[in-house]
Amino acid sequence: MSPLDLVKRPMPKQEPFERVRNFDEVALGYSVELAREEAGRCLDCKKPGCVGGCPVGIDIPGFIHCITEGDFAGGIRAIKQTNALPAVCGRVCPQEEQCEMQCILRKKGESVAIGRLERFLADWEAAQETTEAPPLPPLNGRSIAIVGSGPAGITVAADLALRGYKITMFEALHEAGGVLTYGIPEFRLPKAIVRREVQYVRSLGVDLRLDFVVGKTRTMDALLESFDAVFVGAGAGLPWFMDIPGENLNGVYSANEYLTRCNLMRGFRFPAFDTPLKRSARVAVFGGGNVAMDSARTALRLGADEVHIVYRRSHDELPARAEEVENAEEEGVMFDFLTLPVRLIGNERGWLTEIECRRMELGEPDASGRRRPIEVAGSEFMMRMDASVCAIGNSPNPLIPMTTPGLEVGKRGNIVADEETGLTSRRRVWAGGDVVTGAATVISAMGAGRRAAQSIHEALSGAK
């Protein structure tokens, strides 16, 4: 047996000085040669740990083996058995905490680059003239309404369409895709990819109804009159603010507003597109997750001179994916750790000019296992800024619970649903994804969608 190859093939990327001036994708993807070399590192384990780490249980050694053989069509087929969005997951899954974390090679060195290989196959497929469309069964006479076209809704739609259900997917915005469309920026997840995935689902016969706000355009009760079942995948789109003085000043944004202007409304192409986005010189982003990294890197690309991530814990506690933190650092985002904004100060015209912050220190670990930040008395200082972006979290939008009597919700406004089946307190209503868990990940939303689709199928057909 050849000696173990313990180093991941690096991902070719745009150079930092180049990419901060454009919105094109940062990571360029493996070439065929790199992909086959990387795939060759996999040990094709009999009891592969990696599969257990993937929330949708992709046959990872199976598709990697196909790559080593050069059978890319076989590889993508293997993935698509359990994952309808490989081009998305290969790019944005937190692989280092999921599949790659459980890879045997991590015991000695670096794991196989599973996400990058998954992306490679999805991109290979997209580059082909024709894609293999799975055969569609005849319609079984049952109809399903899906609320929200994010990863959860898309997964349920695809799974049930392939089982002969008539699917109508309702989306409040004018484009489908959920956070994949309005939140995650172009330079990390090109919108052409999201559109391609949405097109795939439509090719399965799914009827997509845009500009349709369930709870407003029609209530859940009305939907239940014309559909056999409803799946709610409405996401966690309600932005949190910090509840500190000055948050309604001009130049103070929620990450949702900042990113939506840029992504959904194409603000970065203003004035070719009408929605404006301020060009700010000094931008502070509050938070340390993926949303914060995306906002900070967007600000740089919009031409800011200086962009700061203001985070109350330290580098080790950053919840964002390690790869994205590294990208942000390379691009010149500055990190102000152990710093808490306490007050936003504006000029006489109501525009943000300064942020008062306080230093923090880390105490004992809290319930989440992370060390709790404690304020240092008397440590206040000022940061001169003309924009701030609040990226401290989101919770589910109350619109649907407010207009749906009898739908049980939890403390943070999340819809209460059975973890295994997605069934809610209302008959014939299932829910999954961020609307149930609060802001989480693409793949966990898809996993919830998959389980709900199975449960809906069992309930409506009596099948197991």
């Binding site: 409040a172 915005l173 004018h174 309005y182 845009l210 500009d211 349709f212 706000v213 407003k216 355009t217 029609r218 789109g237 309600l238 932005p239 603010f241 948050e247 309604n248 000043l249 001009n250 130049g251 944004y253 929620s254 949702n256 507003e257 939506t260 202007r261 409304m265 194409r266 203003f270 004035p271 070719a272 597109f273 009408d274 929605t275 404006p276 986005l277 301020k278 015209r349 109501g350 525009w351 939008n397 109350p398 619109l399």
Partner: protein, 277 residues
Amino acid sequence: MFKVVERSMIVPNVHLLTIEASEVAQAARPGNFIILRPDEQGERIPLTIADWDVSAGTVTSLFVQVGASTAKLARLKAGDTIPTFAGPLGNETEIAKFGTVVLVGGCYGIGAIYPIARALKAAGNRVFALIEARSSFALYWEDRLKTVCERVLVISRDGSRGYKGHVTRLAEILATEKIKPDRLIAYGCTYQMMEVSRQTKPLGIKTIVSMNPIMIDGTGMCGVCRLTVAGETKFACVDGPEFDGHEVDWEEFLARRESYNAEEVEPLHRSGSCSHF
């Protein structure tokens, strides 16, 4: 795609827009608004629903041409299509038997108060309308309002119709006409609603205003429409758009409304329109 049934300028700079959107028509209630995009490059902008026809499946709004998006709307013809028309959004106007209700409308608000007047009358109220315009030629829908109001009072800036001047005369007009409102509802430009609230506060008249901040999604997702009401942050699109005018932080609201002024000049020039009042 949503079909334009009618787009016409009914008085200088105020346009009527009727769109085929049967689902919105079926669910529309007084005080609701819609969000539309004039074309694929367009912004999402909110307009109040001024009327609807369930059987024809149409929804009507009135808009004032102020910037790039409304200039694009002003070029639409019957038979054209627009890519986005979502609604009805926002909470409906509270309709109950209050007694005497005065509806104040200016610019697009003259149309926007019509369905509210209709519903309030049906609920057994005495309904008065007080509409305001630059001059007699800028008034519209007076006849329509008369069908659902006990009286329609007019203020024109140049005095060519009704009272001369501005809504700053509200308290005086109510006294002269011997109208004692149990509730007042105002729709129109921000300054007008602010002024109305300022006038009614000392009189102790409950005053509802329909706030018109910048919006994007209109579903509570982006937070750009936030304002402070009674010391608390609210999202106009889902918590409103109607609020108690005596509780709104007007100064902050006006500042937030201006936040994109510099940028909006640019598409304005491209659109070849500068017909501000």
